[in-house]
């Protein structure tokens, strides 16, 4: 009953002037605003955590209890500590204005100036690719939790082709990337077949498959074919120079940002075309929005599930091979384990970006910047990297609970409603 009323209200809302509508888009409860506010909250809560965990700040406060007059200096110490941490995070992930000014005035030191941006883009590149893979699946109503395993399989496939075949770059590099896609797609196809033909739940199967792939990685790294000769550890052969994604500005520049970002850009363009313009993408969206209507419209649900896992797994696999081919040029038993598990981060980013390719690009850059900046902060101030992880988590937490944001910032107006990107576990 109340839904009917709500509809009637929004339908009947008087036409606003374009200018007012533009303003509302960024001032009210639009997804962009909510995400920005979530970031603000993350930063504020992060500041509180710095205050209560920094020894310097706590000492200053302890001191001020005994010397009442020192409250001013205590507040200054507190502020300075927090400011130093965030300054280090910003200058370490985007740009340091001092260095920039120096570079502009002298024409030197561009390498150091641009390193933070270069690092942020380097970290964001595989995240964009993997997150789009996950996002495409989520839009179809299927939860691919196995992106990490698919990325590792992509890494294995890519490393095999990149290190064991020796052909000119024009063939070798595309072949290596293709091997990554095939590795991820095959890895995704197994849960896909299980879901399509036996009705197994994809969340359970893909999640568990991550562990299977971990074992496959160890096995592959200790096989004579892939293991670096003369090594007892699980470490692979190196990529041929003809199979790596090299730094755009050359190896001497010191900037790691590689041609991988063009691969990521191509994936974004592909994803936009795929979701908006392709016939298969249209079938995916219909299936995601209404599986019954999809079936009645002649769409074969089994085919969609299989195609989806090929696309989603293939993209995750591509992310894996891009990661290996652009940074380390080999893989070891720690490949994509733990905090480097881009396949798990991808799930978070896909939701943060509301499953839209451009949203995912911004989400990936934010996560990469927080990670890179967090390391710079740890180096400069001694505050642990975990603070960056906490801020990431808080942003996601608040984005996932828009009502909370609206309450905190007293946002009540605006007709646009914010919906969660996902619907539920069942499909």
């Amino acid at each position: 009953m109340s839904e009917v009323v709500a509809n009637a209200t929004s339908d009947a809302a008087p036409e606003k002037s374009p200018r007012r509508r533009w303003w509302e888009r960024y001032s009210s409860t639009s997804p962009i605003t909510l995400t920005m506010l979530a970031l603000v909250l993350g930063v504020v809560i992060g500041a509180l955590i710095i205050m209560v965990t920094s020894a310097t700040v706590l000492d200053a406060w302890r001191h001020s209890f005994h010397h009442v007059g020192s409250i001013g200096s205590t507040l200054k110490i507190t502020f300075d500590n927090v400011a130093a941490a965030y300054r280090a995070m910003l200058t370490g992930s985007i740009i340091d204005p001092t260095l920039l000014f120096h570079s502009i005035s002298t024409g030197h030191g561009w390498s150091e100036t641009m390193t933070p941006l270069s690092e942020t883009f380097t970290y964001a590149t595989p995240l964009v690719i993997a997150s789009i893979g996950v996002g495409v699946a989520f839009q179809t109503g299927i939860f691919n939790i196995g992106a990490n395993g698919q990325a590792i399989m992509g890494g294995i496939g890519g490393t095999a082709v990149g290190s064991m075949i020796h052909v000119p770059m024009i063939i070798h590099l595309p072949l290596t990337l293709l091997a990554g896609i095939v590795g991820g797609a095959v890895c995704g196809l197994v849960p896909g077949v299980l879901k399509a033909y036996t009705g197994a739940h994809e969340v359970i199967v893909t999640l568990m498959f991550n562990y299977v792939v971990n074992a496959i990685l160890i096995y592959a790294l200790t096989s004579t074919a892939l293991q670096l000769p003369g090594q007892a550890n699980g470490i692979s052969r190196n990529f041929d120079a003809s199979a790596t994604l090299d730094p755009i500005f050359g190896a001497k520049s010191g900037l790691r940002v590689s041609y991988g970002i063009f691969v990521a850009a191509a994936v974004v363009v592909f994803a936009i075309w795929f979701l908006k313009r392709s016939s298969l993408g249209f079938d995916f969206r219909i299936t995601g929005a209404n599986p019954n209507a999809a079936r009645a419209s002649g769409i074969n649900p089994k085919f969609i599930v299989l195609a989806l896992f090929v696309v989603s797994g293939g993209l995750a696999g591509l992310a894996g091979v891009v990661q290996a081919a652009s940074t380390t040029h080999y893989i070891d038993s720690g490949f994509l384990v733990g905090s480097a598990g881009i396949g798990f981060t991808a799930i978070t980013i896909a939701l943060l970006g509301r499953l839209q390719p451009m949203g995912i690009v911004w989400g990936s850059l934010l996560f990469a910047a927080l990670g890179v900046g967090g390391r710079a902060m740890q180096a400069a101030t001694g505050i642990p990297l975990d603070l960056a992880t906490i801020i990431q988590s808080i942003v996601v937490l608040f984005v996932a609970s828009p009502v909370l944001i609206k309450e905190i910032f007293r946002l009540r107006k605006g007709a646009q409603s914010f919906q969660m990107a996902t619907k539920g576990w069942s499909s």
Partner: protein, 503 residues
């Protein structure tokens, strides 16, 4: 109890849903509120039941002005409401549902089943509403579930009962039973406000009919008014309730069913040896009470349900157990029974829904890339030709009224080359204006030589449209008769009586 609404005005933004509505319900009166979908009936009832607050006007109960802050206030003042979509807990028993919120308890807050059952029993006796208190609601038929809702309202000593579109989900027999209940409640002095857009039942049961159009009371008339008069009051123009059909030559068989057996989800053979022909240029209407296998038969023809045995062919080509895609491509147009579940993607645009099952066909796509210009051109053309009322072709299908949603499906199906057109419950839930429109479209297709297969549980529709009427009962065709056959005879066939007059 005498309830009076005076000058009720309810606005949503700049839209006036109710405009200065006056309405009086006398004790013991069955007062019918008649109007098309979106006329403001439900808004008015929500105001009366305390779910919405009116901007202007007042509600008087026995001459005293009352003010409802919420529906609880309305209940305390003796108003009960049975919603169109029942608000019952499916896994609870009838008794548990009735006492829900006001449960009699024993020590430690345990539900006192004995007292609860006794209360229900007493209520059932008093009002002649037989319901087994221990029956689990999800196992009850829709008609009985509605009884539980009515009992629930009566258990709060309701003097005025609001029934919101109570017949939309009922079979003809259940509708008759409901009307009997309404009459007996009225005899006991209860007032009933009955909301509907169906003309027949209004005239059968109402004491007074108030017609609402676009938020205003158009007129209050006695039930002796003719259906045609009521329809024009409701729609605001002359409405043609009978469908004009020319005599057209009948061609070859386009849809042929031979000994078709189909099982339902529980594995029962709900379609048990059905044979039927539909020829080009004729409308075959399949009548029958809902639940006698028609739904499963339609699904089987569309390829959505496996055919156990027997054959289905489309213009001589065997399509038994082909995929839905192959059957669509073979030329079957299909309007599914549940349009929101199977026919549309509500979150997608009208334009996308108009190519939902032909997205790869030229000119809508080329080599895997959709041609959105062609999709939009197609949408503009169909929106105009089929008079689909939408704010834009990019509006979501979910924002359309039920009638316009159905037009989207009909337009989509009729805009591609067809061999046979099958429509399940084509006008269920539609208002008079839309029914008239959809019927005219169907008859036009038949006149142009298409074979049409209609599956409907509305006897009026079957008689109005069918050139031949097949009646289905318990999974079998009990007879195929001329539309001139008396309603009594068709009714007999619907209950499984022996074959009357084979065609």
């Amino acid at each position: 109890m005498r309830v009076e609404l005076k000058g009720i005005t309810k606005r949503f933004g700049s839209f006036t849903a109710n405009d200065q509505i006056d309405l009086v319900v006398e004790p013991g009166q069955i007062h019918c509120l008649l109007g098309e979908n979106g006329a403001g009936k439900s808004t008015l009832m929500n105001v009366l039941f305390g779910l919405l607050r009116a901007e202007e006007g007042e509600i008087l109960i026995d001459g005293t002005a009352v003010n409802f802050a919420n529906s609880g206030d309305a209940v305390r003042h003796g108003i009960g409401m049975v919603h169109q979509h029942f608000m019952l807990v499916p896994v609870f028993t009838a008794a548990e549902n009735v006492v829900l919120g006001f449960e009699p308890t024993r020590s430690f807050n345990r539900l006192d089943h004995k007292t609860a059952n006794a209360q229900i029993h007493e209520l059932s006796q008093k009002f002649g509403l037989e319901v087994d208190p221990d029956a689990v609601v999800e196992n009850l038929s829709v008609g009985l579930q509605q009884r539980v809702e009515i009992l629930k309202a009566l258990s709060h000593d309701a003097e005025l009962l609001i029934l919101d579109e109570p017949t939309a989900v009922l079979t003809p027999q259940e509708i008759d039973a409901l009307m009997e209940i309404m009459r007996s409640l009225a005899r006991d002095g209860k007032s009933i406000l009955f909301i509907t857009h169906k003309l027949k039942e209004v005239r059968a049961v109402a004491d007074v009919i108030t017609v609402i159009r676009q938020g205003r009371v158009v007129d209050s008339v006695p039930p002796t008014e003719s259906e045609g008069e009521l329809a024009s009051l409701m729609v605001g123009r002359e409405v043609n309730l009978t469908v004009n059909k020319e005599v057209t030559p009948v061609g070859d068989v386009v849809l042929e069913l031979r000994d078709v057996v189909v099982r339902d989800d529980r594995g029962l053979a709900v379609v048990n040896g059905v044979s039927l022909d539909v020829r080009a240029g004729e409308i075959v209407a399949l009548a029958g009470v809902q639940g006698n296998g028609q739904t499963e038969l339609a699904e089987a023809v569309a390829g959505l349900r496996r055919v156990e045995s027997g054959t289905i062919s489309l213009r001589g080509r065997d399509i038994t157990n082909l995929s839905p895609r192959e059957i669509l491509d073979a030329g079957l147009g299909h309007v599914p029974e549940d349009r929101q579940r199977d026919g549309l993607v509500l979150s997608m645009s009208v334009a996308d829904n108009l190519v939902l099952n032909t997205p790869r066909r030229a000119p809508f796509a080329r080599r895997g890339t959709r041609n959105l210009t062609a999709v939009a051109a197609n949408a503009r053309d169909l929106v105009q030709r089929f008079d689909i009322r939408t704010s834009s072709i990019d509006a979501t299908a979910g924002s359309l009224s039920g009638g316009n949603q159905q037009k989207v499906i009909v337009a989509r199906e009729l805009s591609r080359p067809l061999t046979c057109f099958m429509a399940s419950q084509p006008t269920r839930g539609l208002d008079v204006g839309s029914i008239e429109y959809v019927h005219r479209q169907i008859v036009n297709q038949r006149n142009e030589g298409l074979g049409v297969f209609i599956i409907s549980s509305e006897l009026d529709e079957v008689v109005a449209l069918g050139d031949r009427i097949a009646v289905m009962y318990a999974g079998k065709i009990t007879g195929v008769v001329e539309p001139t056959t008396s309603r009594e005879d068709i009714g007999l066939l619907m209950t499984g009586a022996s074959v009357v007059d084979h065609v």
